[in-house]
């Protein structure tokens, strides 16, 4: 009996410990998680800090780090090696989990952490050649001595942080998911850059457009999907001359029959690029600024997430003194300023991803047909580790175009990719993008800016520039494939060399404008140029409303100050409404509306067309236009997965309402009645009101834009609401200068006034620390939400006295 008791109770104890020491599905291991010695309690950080001296291997001389009241490190190193070492070390200190998780995702390694529910995501990233592209980029970076020093020192710095980390001090996400950080490598830096390219330069409507062309023919396709919008104000001001001799001869387009011959029906869907990802930047020249020197502003829009996307740093060595936003995982400042210059970026959106038919010789896939010859493929083996399951081994076949993303018969994960096609993607080119940022960090003038930009490949950005020598400039810049007009608007023939990319546009012939007569430069992802630019970049860019609004305001602006540019960043005017309501409202048949719907209409008519938090008009207009687009186009252009297509743009739709109110497209072909424009406008208005009533109750303040939009900034791990900022009350929206939509928005706002000394302000939605247990996890959020900016502390030496410096760390 006594033995039994001893055995049973001991077994029970061991069983309890075992059960508490392991995760159960999504439930973390509670024993180590709750233990105050190693669990989450250890992740709480005190607001009180004390100076530290840390002895670590890897620096060549002592590095002084001053940390300010917002948690921004100001690094003073005695050489560039130590500068990048400290950048890696300090970034890892605040953002280790995030930087590793993002590079794991890019490499297709999420299944290692969460099991086979991420398998298709991993497969997608691997088949798109993310790992291959990162290896190419790494080769490009390592060939350049300065880039190699930066990469190696940054890597050593990250690893110096990881090496001294005890499990008790692992970031909370490791504890929740039950894994440990691994050593950082230079390849991970390359993977991070690929991740940015994937986010910003992987859009392609090739398949959808091909399906439309096949169904409706070339006349309708060209009419509804024109190569230039009605309402546009391109980045390079019209009238700017191109001071270069174009590459000759330009690649000749194939004759039309080739296109139509090779088009086939496809059963794949397509992921549309998120239209709310985009950015604003502008710079006013001395003639427009109150200081007589340029002022520059930038706010890159991304899907907002926590930990914050950007990490602020000041980096000082004998070769540089730069402040700005860095990307955790990449050396250098990406968007920032130094004593003489400031720069920023917005996404270009050129077409740098195309899909090619692949004709294999046989089922071994060893050879494919191109240029009237059988050519060998290369096979790349992808081994995907899966938590709790055996490894998955995939073979991806590469043609000279690129990887065949999905082999015939496979199912596309994102419906993004046509099945059986090879992807030609800029992300697979060898590149040395960090050399561009190394150069910009150290730039003293316009010439340095030009030299730095020539080194940049992808994702192509509108690099805006201002200097205290009173130059302003902007250039849609990156490596752009040399193509014939509309090449890649539709799927391409992979057997015909005419459809290959024909080299690249020379870097010094990328669009550029310096000190234009209008006194400012700007971009908001709209068309790079008007139609006089001799090369083809893309047939579509982001809608022009933000760009047009910014240019209207800047044209009118005189004596601009930091504050006037800050106000412009927070501009909530809905230019789309200003364009469309004068067309939409007169054709609405109000007599058919219910009493409640009439109240909504009255609110819409009284609306000043600003997307402020309390406005109900913004809610009604947004829902109405969405319903309207569906009502006009869905019957003809939404056939679901059987034939994935897309709708014409809002710009094209509005042009049709203005110029062709009797167009056949207004009729819903699925009803026996013949609908006209008035019917569609009225029905979609009623439908919008019904939806809103269902969601918020009858018309009233519950329809206000802020609560309706309910912006959320979510933690990178899906479903972790406790670490997210939900229902953030802020105005703006898609297509608004303040581009804060439900999930996306300004991920960093910066305004820099140049002069004898730069004066700079900035903020991002979150905070410097990636630790939800830190006072700096989201201490900047409220400042961001209310449209304010913090002054960015730009120190000259490590001995500078500032009341904002809260902590001094010395790395020896």
């Amino acid at each position: 009996m006594r033995y039994t008791k001893a055995i049973v109770v001991s077994l029970l104890t061991v069983l309890l410990i075992w059960g508490l020491n392991r995760p159960w599905g999504g439930i973390p291991a509670f024993g180590p998680l709750l233990s105050p010695f190693v669990g989450f309690w250890q992740n709480a950080e005190s607001a009180k800090v004390t100076d530290e001296e840390i002895t670590i291997k890897g620096t060549q001389a002592p590095v002084t780090v001053l940390i300010d009241d917002k948690g921004v490190p100001h690094v003073f190193a005695q050489n560039d090696h130590d500068l990048f070492f400290a950048q890696g070390y300090l970034t890892a200190r605040d953002r280790l989990w995030q930087m590793e998780f993002q590079t794991h995702a890019a490499a297709g390694r999420v299944s290692e952490l969460v099991g086979d529910r991420a398998l298709e995501l991993d497969r997608y990233n691997r088949h798109m050649g993310m790992g291959y592209g990162a290896e190419q980029t790494l080769r490009g970076m390592q060939a350049d001595p300065a880039s190699k020093v930066a990469l190696d020192a940054y890597t050593a710095g990250v690893n110096a942080w990881i090496d001294q980390l005890s499990p008790a001090k692992y970031p909370i996400e490791y504890k929740l998911l039950g894994y440990a950080p691994e050593a950082w490598t230079p390849l991970k830096c390359a993977l991070l850059l690929k991740q940015m390219t994937s986010t910003l330069a992987s859009g392609a409507d090739d398949l959808l457009m091909t399906n439309i062309l096949r169904k409706y023919g070339s006349v309708i396709t060209a009419d509804l999907f024109p190569d230039y919008p009605t309402r546009e104000d391109p980045i390079i001001p019209p009238g700017t001359t191109w001071n270069f001799k174009t590459v000759s001869p330009l690649p000749p387009p194939p004759n039309d029959t080739t296109i139509n011959d090779m088009i086939a029906w496809f059963d794949a869907g397509f992921r549309r690029p998120n239209p709310e990802i985009g950015s604003n930047n502008w710079a006013v020249g001395p003639s427009k600024s109150a200081t007589g020197h340029p002022i520059l502003a930038n706010d890159p829009h991304l899907t907002l997430s926590l930990p914050s996307i950007w990490y602020q740093m000041q980096l000082v060595s004998p070769t540089v003194n730069v402040y700005g936003a860095t990307l955790p995982g990449a050396p250098n400042v990406i968007i920032g300023f130094n004593k003489n210059v400031a720069w920023g970026v917005t996404n270009v959106g050129a077409d740098v991803l195309d899909f090619y038919t692949v004709k294999f010789k046989d089922a071994t896939h060893r050879e494919y047909w191109h240029d009237k010859k059988w050519k060998p493929t290369r096979a790349r083996i992808e081994v995907i580790k899966v938590k709790g399951k055996p490894d998955v081994v995939d073979t991806v076949f590469y043609t000279h175009h690129g990887p065949v993303v999905y082999m015939p018969g496979a199912k596309a994960f994102r419906k993004n990719i046509p099945i059986g096609y090879a992807a030609r993607w800029i992300a697979h080119e060898p590149s040395n993008d960090i050399a561009c940022f190394y150069g910009l960090n150290r730039a003293k003038n316009y010439d340095d800016y030009r030299q730095a930009l020539a080194k940049y490949v992808a994702p192509a950005q509108n690099f805006i520039f201002a200097s205290n020598q009173n130059d302003i400039a902007i250039s849609p810049n990156g490596r752009f494939p040399l193509k014939w007009m509309d090449q890649g608007k539709f799927l391409l023939d992979g057997t015909d060399p005419v459809d290959d990319w024909h080299g690249f546009i020379p870097a010094d012939q990328n669009p550029l404008v310096k000190n234009p007569p209008r006194g400012f430069v700007s971009s908001a992802n709209q068309f790079s140029t008007d139609r006089t630019y001799p090369y083809y970049l893309n047939w579509q860019f982001a809608p022009a409303e933000r760009g047009r609004r910014i240019n209207q305001r800047l044209t009118a602006m005189q004596h601009a100050t930091i504050d006037s540019l800050r106000m412009l960043q927070n501009d909530n005017f809905n230019l789309r409404a200003a364009d469309a309501l004068p067309v939409m409202l007169p054709s609405l048949d109000a007599s058919r509306l219910s009493a409640d719907q009439k109240k909504a209409l009255a609110a819409l008519k009284a609306w000043k067309m600003n997307n402020d938090v309390a406005e109900t008009g913004a809610t009604v207009f947004t829902e109405w236009t969405q319903r309207l687009l569906e009502a006009i186009w869905a019957d003809e252009f939404d056939m679901g997965d059987s034939l994935p297509m897309r709708s014409p743009t809002f710009d094209r739709t509005l042009t049709m309402m203005q110029r062709d109110p009797e167009a056949r497209w207004f009729d819903n072909v699925k009803t026996p009645a013949r609908e006209r424009m008035t019917d569609v406008l009225t029905q979609s208005f009623q439908a919008a009101c019904d939806t809103l009533t269902k969601k918020h109750g009858s018309f009233g303040s519950s329809w206000a834009w802020g609560p309706h939009k309910s912006t959320s900034i979510r933690h990178l791990l899906p479903g972790v609401d406790a670490f997210s900022a939900l229902n953030v009350q802020i105005g703006g929206g898609g297509g608004i200068v303040n581009a804060t939509s439900e999930r996306a928005g300004p991920s960093w706002r910066m305004v820099v006034a140049l002069g004898e000394q730069p004066k700079a302000y900035g903020v991002f939605p979150g905070g410097q620390s990636g630790n939800p247990g830190s006072p700096h996890y989201q201490d900047l959020l409220e400042t961001w939400r209310t449209g304010q900016l913090n002054e960015l502390l730009y120190l000259q030496t490590a001995q500078d006295k500032s009341p904002r410096v809260k902590q001094k760390i010395i790395l020896r």
């Binding site: 104890t13 105050p36 709480a44 939800p772």
Partner: protein
């Protein structure tokens, strides 16, 4: 409970608290169970008191340390973790659950120690 039993339990609680604290500074979290087991193996008046000592010895240390970390960081993280684990932002529940989970492991380990001792003594008695 007799006077000396009470004293023994007090001594046990203090021993388990101090020794498990030291053990957990260097060893994995479950080293607390080894400590509770050994202490109750060494001396324990009754099964109930063994469990009691193991539970309170560990719970005391876990709660005290957790409260200390909570106070030192102005409770910045306790609420968020409460929200994540228990859907309530009150810091009470994370603290309470921490103490109970640690206590249960300690208590069961103590009880195991007591019963193993009983079994061993039984064997010795049978032999003599």
């Amino acid at each position: 409970m007799r006077q000396d039993g009470c004293l023994t339990t007090m001594i046990q609680i203090i021993l388990i608290a101090i020794l498990s604290l030291l053990a957990q500074l260097v060893l994995p979290w479950w080293s607390l169970a080894v400590v509770a087991f050994l202490v109750c193996l060494w001396r324990s008046p009754s099964a109930g008191q063994a469990f009691f000592a193991g539970f309170y010895g560990v719970a005391l240390i876990w709660l005290a340390y957790a409260v200390m970390l909570h106070v030192r960081t102005d409770g910045i993280f306790t609420g968020r973790m409460g929200e994540l684990l228990f859907k309530t932002s009150s810091p009470i529940l994370p603290g309470l659950v921490t103490a109970i989970v640690g206590g249960l492991v300690g208590g069961l380990a103590g009880l195991s120690g007591y019963f193993v001792r009983q079994a061993a003594q039984n064997q010795i008695m049978t032999r003599s």
